[in-house]
Symmetry: C2
Subunit: 345 residues, 2 copies
Amino acid sequence: MAQAKLTIDLDALRANWRALDALSEGETGAVVKADGYGLGAARVAGALAREGVQRFFVALAEEGAALREALGAGPEICVFSGHMPGDTRLIRDLELVPMINNIDQMLRHVEALPGAPFGLQLDTGMNRLGMEPAEWAALRDIALAQKPVLVMSHLACSDTADHPMNAQQLQCFRDMTDGIEAPRSLAATGGILLGPEYHFDVTRAGVGLYGGLPFAGAAPVVTLEVPVIQCRDLAPGESVGYGNTFTAQRPTRIATIAAGYGDGVLRAMGPKASLMAGETRCPVAGRISMDLIGVDVTGLRAVPDTLELLGRHQTVDTLAGWAGTIGYEVLTALGQRYTRVYLGG
Amino acid sequence: MAQAKLTIDLDALRANWRALDALSEGETGAVVKADGYGLGAARVAGALAREGVQRFFVALAEEGAALREALGAGPEICVFSGHMPGDTRLIRDLELVPMINNIDQMLRHVEALPGAPFGLQLDTGMNRLGMEPAEWAALRDIALAQKPVLVMSHLACSDTADHPMNAQQLQCFRDMTDGIEAPRSLAATGGILLGPEYHFDVTRAGVGLYGGLPFAGAAPVVTLEVPVIQCRDLAPGESVGYGNTFTAQRPTRIATIAAGYGDGVLRAMGPKASLMAGETRCPVAGRISMDLIGVDVTGLRAVPDTLELLGRHQTVDTLAGWAGTIGYEVLTALGQRYTRVYLGG
């Protein structure tokens, strides 16, 4: 079997939620959009529900519907894209809470599903989702009279603690919402770490649950072990992989392992990447191809059956650094071709 | 509904196979590994089987097993990772053809499944999979006596027609196989385009089927339409998205659309990317986030319900250029959150 093994430690995930919850004022929800950041929304949310999470956030009504099937009745499922044309049936039948973004969505919601729960999103400067201050000023009294279950906004720069945008968005959010009765939410993982003035009534723990920055104290959740298909010895001058981008400078042993960008191992990592054999770092040799990667295992006495790409030594953020991206993308890129093993939960 | 729509034109896929088949000497097989380059191996292979393809290639025995379930008995399914420990049952029960990579695999195969079909992979310089010339010299007579159904190698630089590696690998392959009875295969899409001396008995059409380079004549197979969730007007000085990387220089209209790197829209494309509204190009504004992208739609008279990321105007290779990668990765990264619509087939 050449299938790589992705192990997802649900106990570590639960521990990360507890740690973020301990830092949070008020209730700590969980963001499980994009299939639980690539780790399987049903399993992830199930484990978190058993830990006591009562409010989940997804991007699309379709994701919310799948999550409701997995969780059953009870937990609140909030949908960031709000109430889009065509969403009414899912929102009603699966008891989803659309996070209304603008006046059009507000009208659609109250006309189609009068009395059905909803939340409100406000734009405090990110200019991505939510009502602008002027729109909010016009709609505010009518909207609040309908008793929204949550009024939220989102921070654009919370990964950078000293970015002036954070205080600016906080002030804007206060200006727009101080004095309202509805529960308020501003902070995701980054905002939780900014401190209690950012927390309000509900926080939305996301990437930190899955072991990623900016939550530096997160326990690693994923381990990825990739089988070695074949080893070979190269003489100096021989090359490896597409485009001959690696040429052996000395006698070199190359292991070909069974994963590639077709599994979400980002091609941009290229030769900056390495895999671990126990405590020994083995650099990637040549280009990452769709299903295969060449690895320089010259330093090993014996080549093990598998090499570790993600685990104790290399986190999603280590890989992100090699690829010039963020740990979030390393997570959501994780492919469908792995054997997935869930620990705990 | 904020779910983006990925349309896969199986008639275009079939046309691409016919075009590559017309260029090929001998039989033209199809590579459907990595879930049919991200487009759904069962649907893709089913359409190609109806077009007359009799030989398919996958990376893993597990992929082969799923493909056999989809196709039923008949077509040959060749597995590039060969016969790995633990693969025996799948190879036997699903009638897969392991493409043996080394002596260990050869012994495993003939001991576990004597008389069962297999192919052989030879390394002609890519140093990725397959037997080295010395290993082959030792094993050749014994292996050929077992009647392999295919003897193959793989080109490292076939995307670059004038790369000297091509002729070098061709010569090596001839040196290793001239005079054998078994059918031979060296060329994938790039090799097909290098000309008939690279074709031998079987070619392995891959990326060209799916509309990607180096097959410049390929018909586009995928269209990706992304719904607009919300539009807003920005004053000069306002910023968009994470990290405030886009700042409006003039009055600007921004559409927030419902896809992101969580759907395989590679984050590395960043602000080089654009989407099409009919014939009008609309640039991405700010960072691509997990589920959302800001798009500058100032140039539009009216904002349509959806914007097109992939289609007639922008191919997988256009997007790959923005991201600094190859069209293959744009294809295999395509996410699971889209509504997938298959045309024809």
